[in-house]
């Protein structure tokens, strides 16, 4: 029987899920420091209760702990995401006007993301940045896949409306 108390299993669980736990908390609250702390706290709890938590349950366990940690505690700050430069890198002859528009678009996108309700933003970014499938997000959030699809749909709709100024 594999056990989370075993160092290599614990390390594996940590490496697999810590980044997503970090992002998950960051998308929720926009606070990097708290996201780092959440990872530490969630996995310390997992370590302390390693005998009671099976490796299969470890994943949802750390998300639940991380989520409960800051429930109603911190106010959401602005989620500051990094924008990869791929768009401008793979093209050469770009007009200053195009670059300007790109920059403006990014600002609009950031603002629109920050304007989303916390659960829609978290779901949306877990999918877009972390590439999490709807089923996986549903597991993390503890809701149905249908609810996640609803959030995705509403998030896209709101983002477009916010950016296009509809």
């Amino acid at each position: 029987m594999s056990n989370v108390c075993e160092d290599h299993i614990f390390s594996k669980v940590f490496k697999t899920h810590s980044k997503t736990v970090f992002n998950y908390i960051f998308y929720k609250f926009g606070n990097e420091e708290k996201a780092h702390d959440a990872v530490q706290e969630a996995f310390v709890k997992l370590w302390q209760n390693c005998a009671k938590v099976s490796p299969e349950k470890a994943k949802s366990y750390v998300y639940t702990v991380a989520n409960n940690l800051y429930l109603n505690v911190i106010k959401a700050e602005k989620v500051r995401l990094k924008h990869a430069n791929s768009l401008s890198n793979d093209r050469t002859n770009e007009s200053p006007e195009f670059l300007m528009e790109e920059k403006e678009y990014k600002v609009k996108l950031d603002n629109a993301l920050n304007a989303l309700p916390e659960n829609q933003r978290t779901t949306f970014l877990l999918n877009r940045i972390d590439g999490k499938k709807y089923t996986e997000i549903a597991e993390i959030e503890g809701v149905s896949v249908k609810a996640i699809e609803k959030r995705m749909h509403l998030a896209l709709k709101s983002l477009r409306e916010e950016i296009d100024g509809i």
């Binding site: 390390s11 940590f14 490496k15 810590s18 980044k19 970090f22 992002n23 960051f26 998308y27 990097e32 996201a35 780092h36 990872v39 530490q40 996995f43 310390v44 370590w47 500051r80 995401l81 990094k82 924008h83 990869a84 791929s86 768009l87 678009y105 990014k106 996108l109 949306f124 970014l125 999918n127 877009r128 940045i129 972390d130 499938k133 709807y134 249908k146 996640i148 699809e149 609803k150 959030r151 995705m152 749909h153 896209l156 709709k157 983002l159 477009r160 950016i163 296009d164």
Partner: protein, 304 residues
């Protein structure tokens, strides 16, 4: 278009026709741009190796640090013991019996919680529980005392010779070495001696000398004579008279060529030693000498 079609579009779950329909819609271009833009977004850097190291350093590897909290646990243990001792001694002190003691040539008066009164003769001691008084009216007596008991529940006087139980009355108990006398002045007193109960109506006495019950005459007056500074005896062996004299005046009494078992009837004053000595020596036909705190009684025919 099905429910949540935007979500389905993002996860490539739209059917051919639906996708066609969506691509022809006015908003499609905006959504496509959103899709492209958000696919290149990145979250802040997170180094999972570093985070794991931090976790191990701070929380797991250094777990023994938790043990270093033990001194506090020890302190808690000591504190708990002290707390228990304090609480215990508080409880003990609280339940400790009240004690009143008189020395030789000293008397005292005690008023109990229910206003019963106890007059302690010389060299006597009573103890009782003040906290528990309302539940149990019990007095432990050594020596002699006169009781005026307020009406109420059963009132008991425990001595090593026996127990005296009353409801509300006035009585005197004398409990000395080899000598036990209960005199009832009012009401009814029950005396239990050697598991045998005797009822004493007002104006009677119960006397035990050296384990032998001795019938006595009726006591005079409504108070024991010592309450009026007199010690009275009726057919009492001389040695108990001498013992009482020692207690009343705080002197040392010795005798020479005298049978101290001879019975003595009479009384002596408790305030004037010379008078008291005359009161004893005359009826008992003995002589006495005083030397400081020592009194010697001797027979008339003893050569000095």
């Amino acid at each position: 278009m099905q429910e949540n079609y935007l979500a389905k579009w993002l996860s490539d779950e739209l059917s051919e026709e639906e996708l066609q329909e969506f691509q022809n819609s006015e908003a499609y271009a905006s959504y496509q741009k959103l899709k492209d833009a958000t696919s290149s977004l990145k979250a802040p850097d997170f180094n999972s190796e570093k985070a794991l190291q931090r976790l191990k350093d701070e929380h797991i590897e250094n777990a023994p640090k938790v043990i270093s909290l033990n001194p506090f646990k020890k302190f808690l243990r000591v504190a708990a013991v002290i707390a228990i001792l304090l609480a215990g001694s508080y409880f003990y002190v609280n339940t400790l019996n009240e004690k009143v003691t008189t020395e030789f040539a000293e008397r005292s008066e005690v008023v109990l919680p229910d206003n019963s009164e106890i007059f302690l003769n010389v060299d006597s001691q009573i103890s009782y529980s003040e906290k528990n008084w309302d539940n149990k009216r019990n007095i432990d007596l050594k020596g002699e005392a006169f009781f005026k008991v307020a009406k109420g529940k059963k009132f008991t006087v425990s001595t090593d010779h026996g127990t005296v139980a009353v409801l509300g009355t006035q009585f005197n108990v004398e409990n000395r070495k080899g000598f036990f006398e209960v005199t009832c002045y009012e009401g009814l007193v029950s005396v239990t001696h050697n598991n045998k109960e005797s009822k004493l109506p007002a104006g009677t006495s119960f006397l035990v000398i050296n384990g032998k019950i001795i019938s006595t005459g009726t006591p005079d007056g409504t108070l024991p004579s010592w309450m009026n500074n007199e010690s009275s005896f009726e057919s009492i062996p001389l040695k108990y008279v001498f013992a009482e004299l020692e207690r009343q005046f705080n002197v040392k009494v010795s005798s020479e060529n005298i049978d101290t078992n001879l019975l003595f009837t009479g009384s002596f004053n408790n305030t004037d030693l010379n008078m008291a000595l005359k009161s004893i020596s005359t009826p008992s036909q003995t002589h006495y000498k005083i030397d400081g705190d020592n009194v010697l009684f001797y027979a008339g025919n003893t050569l000095q």
